[in-house]
């Protein structure tokens, strides 16, 4: 494996979503291809499970490479986005059989991203190149107290937008002229889901789990009063999956305003819709409140608050958050997200020998309680 930074690495990054597969090809840090392959309902209808979509998605990826004139034999590595795997420490992992088995079983749930490692492995196998996975959502560096809830049977889980959070934290550290492992940061990834994470010396020591708690988001409910939630589920006779759909997909802005489009809501706010303004400002209020809570995790010793994700491009949201948390630490804003680049950079660190590839599953010492 080449370790020279001047060596050229051509890396294919794969990020499967529910109705699309994003791919990118990078020559070292430079993107030479970025494409979102859309999958229609008809395309996916023959498959009983997400896992069964593997061969279809692999074929569409290889076709897209061919269509764009990328010779698959010119690739030197392939990296897939990680799915809902076992709790692991942050880093770049070589894809292995246990990881693939966990993705198939859905050890922490079924998600299109579970296909990321197996797609990388399949292409890597066929063309004789290494396959990696970087910072899956199940990155778990929680400290012991972060694991407990008030109900013994229900533990808090470390699930977050770890890939973008770690990548943005590294960017912020570079901009601050320091190493990530000498900083305490609070990073808020604000997109369709919102993850607010305190990073102590680079490690995500707590997180809200965007599907289970924290601020509400454009389409997720976030933390909901428990008694009210129990009544809501029983009164409406909701099954497990129906209840999940109400909380994830039908919650947040969708529940209050009937849309998950922040752009549309902002237009309504500007045109004087007071209810839209209340709801939208409350979302920012809840994000700020979560940042405040995470500041206590770091005992108030916070070097910077980092805002990232699609919503950090909103002046309204960022402005409201800054008003409430500006006194805690300086606020740095990195609009958007680049998961593809984050995947590639993670692979490059290993290919260049700057970091050793981890063997899945590598867990933190504090696991399990």
């Amino acid at each position: 494996m080449p370790e020279n930074k001047t060596d050229k690495h051509r890396i294919l990054a794969i990020n499967p979503g529910s109705t699309s597969t994003k791919i990118a090809v990078f020559d070292n840090e430079t993107a030479v291809l970025e494409e979102t392959i859309r999958h229609s309902e008809l395309d996916l209808s023959p498959f009983e499970s997400i896992w069964d979509q593997y061969e279809f998605r692999k074929k569409t990826i290889l076709e897209a490479l061919r269509r764009n004139g990328i010779d698959v034999h010119s690739l030197t590595a392939v990296v897939g986005r990680g799915g809902l795997l076992r709790p692991v420490v942050s880093g770049t992992y070589e894809v292995n059989q246990l990881m693939i088995n966990d993705g198939r079983e859905g050890v922490q749930g079924q998600h299109a991203a579970n296909l990321g490692p197996v797609l990388a492995y399949g292409i890597g196998w066929d063309f004789g190149i290494p396959a990696f996975m970087v910072d899956p959502p199940s990155v778990d560096e929680f400290e012991p107290m972060a694991r407990l809830s008030g109900l013994k049977a229900v533990m808090r889980r470390s699930l977050s937008h770890a890939l973008n959070i770690k990548a943005t934290a590294r960017l912020a550290a570079v901009d601050m002229g320091k190493s990530l492992n000498e900083l305490n940061l609070i990073v808020a990834h604000m997109g369709g889901g919102i993850s607010v994470c305190p990073l102590r010396k680079g490690r995500i020591v707590d997180a809200n789990d965007a599907n289970s708690g924290g601020p509400f988001t454009p389409e997720r409910a976030g933390t909901v009063p428990t008694m009210g939630l129990i009544d809501f589920i029983f009164d409406n006779k909701l099954g497990r999956e129906e209840a999940k759909r109400e909380l994830i997909g039908h919650g947040g802005l969708v529940s209050h305003l009937g849309t998950n489009s922040a752009k549309e809501v902002e237009e309504r706010v500007r045109s004087g819709d007071e209810h839209a303004a209340l709801v939208y400002q409350t979302m920012a209020y809840q994000i700020a409140k979560e940042i405040g809570a995470m500041a206590t995790v770091l005992m108030g010793d916070v070097d910077a608050i980092v805002l990232t994700g699609g919503l950090s491009g909103s002046e309204m949201i960022v402005g409201w958050i800054k008003e409430r948390v500006g006194h805690v630490a300086p606020v740095m804003v990195y609009p958007g997200e680049d998961e593809m680049e984050a995947l590639v950079l993670g692979s490059l660190r290993v290919l260049r020998g700057e970091e050793k590839a981890k063997t899945y599953p590598e867990t933190v010492d504090t696991l399990p309680l």
Partner: protein, 281 residues
């Protein structure tokens, strides 16, 4: 055998010429569909000769052929276990399968159901994924690692000529039993395996399962009949191993000699009836 590039070398004339040639052999040779041929090719041959295995669609043939061959190999492995370990069962044995296409994939499933452990390899990952989706415990190794892995049975189910002298020296298995044809690079390698106490089930015996798709008289057999008859491979192999032991020779040589004796005996049979005169046209 027709040897060529299926992508560019096929035509109606090509297969009809082949059919006429087979017809000229008067039943001494019967052909059937295999790698690189499709339903249309078989139809062209059939226009010229009846000496063609019962016509079944390629899709059915691949599906049933794969199952039948895999069943035959499983029964062959049982015969090998009986000869080697005294128990005609693969339960608890580790089987390394080289190539998990149609036959290898079915074989892996049957072996898993019988309680055998699996090591698999293939040059194409998707084929292995199909096995692992059904048998998650199947361990994957790189194609060049399969010869040296710790296993009881090595089962080549991909290409011929894979057992070379160099590879034979690396093998850790006690039995070689697979569906691939002509897996020995040479007869001397077969003799070496025998000396090394590795029981090699002759390829042309153990891989014969798909031939049972044809019942006597070149009629198509049902799936049930095909699968049921594939178990006859057990008895045939036990016979081969007994002959080999009796004659103190490697089983692959014993199988050849048995086949030659059979051809000789059947070839010596004479009809007492004269052939009916053909009407003049």
């Amino acid at each position: 055998m027709l040897w060529g590039d299926p992508a560019g070398g096929k035509s109606e004339a090509y297969f009809r010429a082949f059919g006429r040639f087979i017809e000229g052999l008067g039943g001494r040779f019967v052909t059937y569909a295999d790698l690189g041929t499709d339903d249309r090719d078989m139809l062209y041959i059939r226009r010229e000769t009846g000496y063609i295995a019962p016509f079944v669609s390629r899709a059915r043939e691949e599906s049933l052929g794969g199952k039948a061959t895999a069943h035959g190999v499983l029964w062959g492995m049982r015969a090998c276990c009986k000869a080697k370990y005294g128990v005609s069962s693969v339960k608890g044995r580790t089987v390394a399968i080289q190539g998990v296409g149609e036959v290898g994939c079915n074989l892996a499933r049957y072996l898993d159901e019988e309680g055998a452990g699996l090591i698999i390899t293939d040059i194409v990952y998707d084929a292995m994924k199909r096995v692992q989706d059904v048998v998650p415990s199947a361990k994957i190794v790189r194609p060049d690692e399969i010869y040296e892995c710790d296993c009881d049975i090595f089962s080549p189910c991909a290409f011929g000529g894979v057992i070379t002298q160099e590879r034979a020296e690396k093998l850790k298995c006690k039995i070689i039993a697979g569906a691939a044809y002509d897996i020995l690079e040479s007869s001397s390698v077969g003799d070496y395996l025998h000396k090394k106490d590795i029981l090699y089930a002759p390829d042309f015996v153990i891989s014969a399962g798909e031939l049972f798709q044809t019942s006597d008289g070149l009629q198509a057999a049902t799936e049930q009949e095909t699968i049921a008859r594939a178990c006859e491979i057990f008895d045939v192999l036990v016979g081969v191993f007994d002959y080999a032991e009796r004659e103190s020779m490697p089983p692959f040589r014993a199988a050849r000699r048995m086949a030659e004796e059979r051809i000789e005996h059947v070839g010596g049979v004479r009809s007492i009836l004269a052939k009916a005169p053909q009407p003049e046209v």
